[in-house]
Amino acid sequence: MTDHSLRTSGTSWRRRLRPVGFAANTTVAWVFALVFSFPLIWTFFTALKPANEVFGARISFIGSRVLWSNFADAWTEVDFGRLLTNSLVIAAISTVLTLIVATLTAFAFARLKFPGRSAVFLLFVITLTLPSEVAVVPLFLGFDQARLADTWIALILPGLFGAFGAFLLRQFMLQIPAELEEAARIDGASTWRILISVIVPLVRPALSVLAIFAFLGSWNSFLWPLIILNSSDLWTIPIGIAGFTTQTGTQWQLLMAACVMTIAPVVVVVAVAQRQLVAAIGAGAFGGR
C-alpha cells in the first residue's frame, strides 16, 4: 500500500474555505430545523389567538389579542390536570413493571440454563415480529369478560410483556464477563443476589434505554386506551385531546393550547436529558452490535 498520506493538491484552498463551509453548513442546518419546527411554532402562536381568528382569510402569527388565558381555559376544559396525572402515573408504573419483567426474563435467557430454554427463546423471537395493535379485539373481549374493562390494570398490563425489552437487556447481559458471576457464585451468592448486585448495575445503560422506550410507549399510546377506556376518569392525554371536539364543534385555539401543554414537557425532558437520551437510544437500540 503506497503511502498517499494526505492529499496535497487543493489543501490550502480547502483549508481557507473551511470556516466558510462551516458557517454555510450551520446556516443551512438551522434553516432546515426552523422549517421543520414550523408546525410546532405555529401551534404555539395559534394557542394564543382568540377563537375567531384561528381560521379565516387573514392568517397571521399573532392575533389581534394575545390570550394567555387560553392555556387556563384549555386546562379546565378537559380537566387537563387529571389527564396529566393519569398519563404520568400510568407511564411511570408501566415503566417500572416493564423493567422488572424484562430484567427477569433477559437474565434467564442470558445466564440461566434451563430445559426448554431454546424453545421459549424462539417463542419470544417470533413475538418480536408480531404487530402489536392487530389483536386488540380479542384483547378487549378478554378484559371485558374478566370484568376488567375500563380499569388501570387493563390499560397497563398488555404493554408490559413485549419481547423487545428482554432482548435488549439480554444483549447487554451477554457481554458481561462470566468470571464476575463465577466469583460471586464462589462467594456463595444466590442467583437472585447475582442478578441484583452484579448484573443489574452493569446493564444500567440498557435499562435507561428500556425505561425511555417504555415511558414513551405508554405516554403516546392511543389506540388501546381509546378502545379499553370508557369513563373519563382514567383518560390519558391523547384521548383527552380528542375531547376538544364536542357536539358543538371544536375550539381549535384551546386544542392547540392543549397540544402545547402536551408537547412542552417532552421538549423539556429531551432538552435536559439529551445527551443521555442520545447515548442511551444509540447504545442499545440495535441489538446486534
Partner: protein
Amino acid sequence: MKSLTKVGRKRRVSAAVAVAGVLALGLAACSGGGSSSGLDGKTLKMYTWIGGKADRQQWSDYIAGGKHADPKMAVSFSGPPINDYYTKLPTVMKSSSAPCLVTFQNGRVGQYVQGLEPLDELAKKNKVDLKAYSSAMLEQLSVKGKLYSIPFNAGPTVVLYNKKLFAAAGIADPKNDWTVDDFIAAAKATTKDGVYGFAIPQGSNPISTIMAADGHPYADSKGPKLDDPNFKDALQLLVDLSNKYKVAKPLEAAAGGSFPDIDAFSTGQAAMEMQGLWDLQHEQQALGKDNVGIAVIPSKTGTSKGFIGGSGFGITKTCGDKQKAFKAIEAMTSKSGLEYVTKAQASVPARLDALDAWSTNVGSPAFASVIKQMTGDATPSPVPSNQAQLDTLLTQYEVNAFSGKSTVSEVLAQVKAGLAQ
C-alpha cells in the same frame, strides 16, 4: 447445598408473593361499584357524551332540573367525547361497569336495541302521558313500535344566521316561507370579504333535513333511500352551494364526527349554518345573544316541514333498578324539570307544554314561531339501524363530489356499496 436451598426458598417466597400480588390486583379491580348493576349505591349511573365544559354543564343542568322536579333523584354521569360515544356504547353496555341510563341523539337507538329496555310498560305503570311529547320525536326513538328512549330536548334542524352579517349585507331576516332560491340569494349576498354565506355540515343530517323540508323522508324500513331522486337532489344542492354558487366552502376530508360548519359559523366565517337547535346556546355564547337568529329550513315551495330530531334518555337492560331509573327519566323530562332547565340551557324542550317557559327564558316570539312550524308540521322518518355507518361513509365520500372527482350519483353508489358490506 447452601445456595440450593437458599435459592429454592427464595423462589418459593417470591412465587407466593407474586401470586398474592396478582390476586390482590384482581380483587382491587373487581371490587368497587354499587351493589346493583348500573348504580353507585343509591345513585344512578348515566353514560353519555362529554367533551368539554359545555357538555358537562348541560348534563348538570338536566340533572338539576330532575332534582327540582323530584328531590329524591340521584344521577351521576360519565362518558367519552361525542366522536367515540356511539362506538363505545355497546362496549359499555356489555361491560361490568354498565350504566343504568344512556342518552341518544336524533333517534340513533336502532343499533342498540338489544341492550335497551323498552319503556312502554314502564310508562304505563307510572302513568306517564306520552302525548306530551311530539309524536314524530317518539317515532324516531322507537323501533318496531316499541319506545326505547324518552326525549328531553327537541332538535329540529333549523337555519341559524348571523344577524350582524345579514344587516351588513343589507338583506332582511329570513321569513317563515322562504324558498331555496331565497336562501341562495341570501347566501350570495353575505359571501364577501373572506366570509361565506353558508357553512355546509358533514354527513347525512343536512340531506335528511333538506328532504324533509319538502316532505320527503330520507329513509324507510329498508334503510336510507339512496336511490331516491330527492336524496340525490339534496346532496347536489350542497355541492352546488359550494361549486356552482360559490357561497360555501367545499367539504374536505376530516375525521368523522367533527363539525367544521359549527366551527365556521361560531367564528363568524359563515353567515348561516344548518344545525339542530341544540347548537343555539353555544352560538349565542360565541356570537352574542342577540346576534343569532333562527329560521325554518328553506323549501322548494315555501311551506317548509320540519325534520324532527331530539335527544332522549334510555334505560339499559342490565340496570339493577329499572323503576328507579324510569323515575329519574320521568323527573328529568317532566314539565317542571324541563322548565327549570330552560333557565340555563337554550336547547328546546321536548315537551310542547314547556315551550312557553322556553320562549320566556331563552327565545323570542320570532323563535317560537319557527319552532312551532318545525315541530308542529314535521315529516316523520324512521332512523335506519346503520345510521352511524351512513354518516361515516357519506362524510368520507362526499368530499369527492365537492372536489369534482366523482358525481353525486357515483358518490351515492359508493355509499350504497359500503353499506351493503
